[in-house]
């Protein structure tokens, strides 16, 4: 049967990416409004949100929907709209700043590091469980369902081919090619 190559295709997103693209833990460095992937392959610019808030959100996004096959750039793209929205919506701005500060406070208390710097995923997820009913967590999770999973590049990594009408549907492209039963 015709199967989908789910591996990352180098260069197709306009940034450098390594073939294996494991990216466990956000390898991002923040400096003055710009968060840069550890490999320098992508950048997230923030002008209204603090870099601390943005990098915390990025790590939270990863931990909420952890896909080892997706590097940080997909998560960065998913949370990017918050920066502009927070500029137009003071409530959202304080929700994100205060919510991430509170999470980082808990993280310091328990693990002596900010949330994004905690090495163990289990420790981070434990903290997320504690704030699972908070407004920030609910908003981020609810938005990510769309902002992460509605990216065509993500579809390919999960094995979904997206639009098909322009290619004549699947009538000649494997709608019934399953042969392992």
């Amino acid at each position: 049967m015709r199967v989908i190559d789910k591996r990352l295709q180098v260069g197709r997103r306009g940034f450098l990416a390594t073939g294996a693209a494991t990216a466990a833990g956000v390898g991002a460095v923040a400096s003055g409004g710009v968060i840069i992937g550890a490999d320098g392959a992508w950048a997230l610019n923030v002008s209204t949100l603090s870099p601390d808030a943005a990098s915390t959100m990025l790590q939270m996004a990863r931990d909420i929907f952890p896909h080892d096959a997706l590097d940080d750039s997909y998560y960065a793209r998913a949370i990017e709209p918050y920066d502009q929205q927070a500029g137009e919506d003071a409530d959202l701005h304080s929700l994100i700043e205060e919510g991430t500060a509170a999470l980082n406070g808990k993280a310091q208390e328990r693990h002596g590091a900010s949330y994004a710097e905690i090495e163990s995923e289990d420790d981070r997820v434990g903290l997320l469980h504690e704030i699972e009913n908070s407004a920030l967590f609910k908003k981020l999770r609810g938005d990510l369902v769309v902002s992460l999973y509605n990216q065509p590049e993500v579809w390919q990594r999960l094995g979904y081919e997206g639009p098909s009408a322009s290619q004549g549907g699947y009538i000649d492209r494997g709608f019934d090619d399953l042969n392992w039963l």
Binding site: V3, F65, L148, V154, W155, E161, S164, A165, Y170, L178
Partner: protein, 523 residues
């Protein structure tokens, strides 16, 4: 040639809504030479406007006006302002529907007699029989090109179907096939055959799937007797001192209000907006809402017992390729109270793309268990479970006491509690669905809770006696002689089957009744 009728023309039949019920009725009336105006709240989006994009199409044509939910159903928690997935556009929900077209079984028209009284359920026999409906079912199937009927070949099975069929076979089920679908398996009625595009829920770009948008309405317009006015949301139905309806007030795209006069009015806004419109049309003469002498308007809301089972396999399935509903198992659709519940259910393949799967597989879920499944999206197969649910008087569409819509009218609140029978049936269906996939070799199965309702039924039900329901066996209001209900709100009970074929069947029959009554001077 579409005929524009004058606002003051009181000889026209006005239909509210252009979906399965309204669109079909409009064409059928026009074919008989009856001047008809369809007022449709949504816009007119033709096939070339459709895109293979789940959220894109959802945002473009769904009914997203404010609605609230109450009751203990899980939809109220997961989707508090989206009780139902209904389309607001010319063609109504037949733009997004999957096409499964099944007849009711004989016993499903007389459930009170067959099942006996069920505690807490407001069961009633329909005031008609399958026998009476058969000739109209024939015409509906022919019009819609339903596969597996009238010598129309069935569709080929896709990958998702193959998995379900293999499991069904190993489990000993015998009544499984690729369904009775209103999707062309060969060129028919000027429309092409299915290209297995796989975006049936987003509007069929090949036109293979029947929709009133392109399979009914243009034919009616060609007669010169039908006008469809899009972006025309009906706000109120008006009546005279004698209690006959005289016309409707509607808002156009700019929000300007107009009054269209009418000889008769047929309401087909789907089972949330239809009762809402009747309730919002309350007057001194009809203080509890139009046609509500029985107090049943908005009550007995049914949504079918639903649920889904998704399964992850070792090997790829690529279920998204081809028709969304590609096959069915019917062995469980019988009434066999030995299973612990009355009524039955159907098992039908279903596929969602990644965007919808993320939202619906397990609403609210997060973390590695969830992403484990999403990582194996291409190894998933899926089915939808749909069965008869119990009408309950307290499950109701009611006017919200405070919240108003953009026209200042109360928004509808949709209250629903599962009946014990619904819960037992769902447990059984989940178990059997999982067993089908396990028999086919699944690594893991998922029990997905109900989506926002796609089958909305029963809120203006048919009854023999005026005190038991809202309309008679023709869909004609017991209390108002020139008012009709022409959609799934008429259903006395829901049956196990997807409802649209029956909605279309009733509309064809109602059109004949209207013509006869006009000829006899009764309308």
């Amino acid at each position: 040639m579409a005929a524009p009728f004058d606002l003051n023309d009181d000889g026209v039949v006005v239909i509210v809504g252009s979906g399965a019920g309204g669109g079909t009725l409009g064409n059928e009336l026009a074919q008989q030479g009856i001047d008809t105006v369809i007022l449709e709240a949504g816009g007119r989006h033709e096939i070339h406007d459709f895109v293979n994009d789940e959220w894109g199409m959802f945002g473009q044509i769904s009914w997203l006006d404010m609605r609230t939910t109450s009751g203990s159903w899980r939809v109220a928690r997961d989707f508090p302002n989206l009780p139902a997935w209904i389309v607001k556009a010319v063609g109504g929900s037949t733009v997004h529907w999957a096409g499964a077209s099944l007849r009711f079984q004989p016993h499903e028209f007389r459930v009170l007699t067959e099942y006996g009284a069920v505690h807490g359920a407001n069961l009633l026999d329909w005031p008609l029989t399958l026998e009476e409906l058969e000739p109209y079912y024939d015409r509906a199937e022919d019009k819609m090109g339903v596969t597996g009927t009238h010598g129309i070949p069935r569709l080929p099975g896709n990958n998702n179907y193959k998995v379900m069929a293999a499991g069904a076979d190993r489990l000993g089920y015998t009544r499984y096939h690729t369904g009775n679908m209103a999707i062309n398996s060969e060129n028919r009625d000027g429309r092409s055959s299915c290209l297995q595009i796989g975006f049936c829920f987003q509007g069929c770009q090949s036109g293979a799937k029947w929709s009133t948008l392109y399979a009914e309405i243009p034919k009616g317009e060609d007669t010169g007797h039908l006008e469809v006015r899009p972006q025309s949301q009906v706000l109120q139905i008006e009546h005279d001192d004698a209690g006959k309806v005289t016309g409707v007030v509607y808002a156009d795209a700019e929000g300007n209000q107009h009054r269209q006069k009418a000889r008769a009015i047929c309401v087909a806004g789907n089972s949330i907006e239809t009762p809402r419109l009747l309730l919002n049309s309350a007057s001194a003469k009809f203080p509890d809402g139009l046609a509500n002498g029985s107090g049943q308007v908005g009550r007995n809301y049914m949504r079918h017992m639903t649920g889904s089972v998704y399964a992850v396999f070792d090997q790829p399935v690529n279920m998204y390729r081809g028709t969304t509903m590609a096959g069915i198992i019917q062995d469980e659709s019988i009434n066999d109270p030995a299973r612990g519940f009355v009524g039955g259910y159907e098992m039908e393949t279903l596929s969602l793309g990644v965007p919808f799967m993320a939202a619906f597989l397990d609403p609210g879920a997060w973390g590695r268990d969830f992403t484990w499944a999403m990582d194996r999206y291409d190894h998933m197969a899926g089915m939808w479970l749909v069965g008869e649910d119990m009408p309950q008087e307290s499950n109701a569409v009611a006017l919200h006491p405070e919240i108003k819509d953009q026209y200042g009218l109360p928004v509808p609140d949709v209250r629903f509690d599962d009946h014990q029978n619904d819960i037992k049936m769902r447990q059984h269906a989940f178990r059997q669905g999982a067993a089908v996939y396990e028999a086919a070799g699944a690594l893991k199965t998922y029990r997905t809770p109900p989506y926002p309702s796609t089958h909305n039924l029963g809120t203006c039900r048919m009854s023999e006696r005026p005190e038991d329901g809202v309309v008679n066996k023709w869909g004609r209001a017991h209390d108002v002689p020139n008012l009709f209900v022409s959609d799934g709100s008429q259903f006395t009970t829901g049956g196990a089957e997807n409802p649209t074929l029956t909605i279309v069947t009733l509309a064809i029959r109602q059109a004949e009744h209207i013509r006869r009554e006009m000829a006899a001077g009764n309308l």
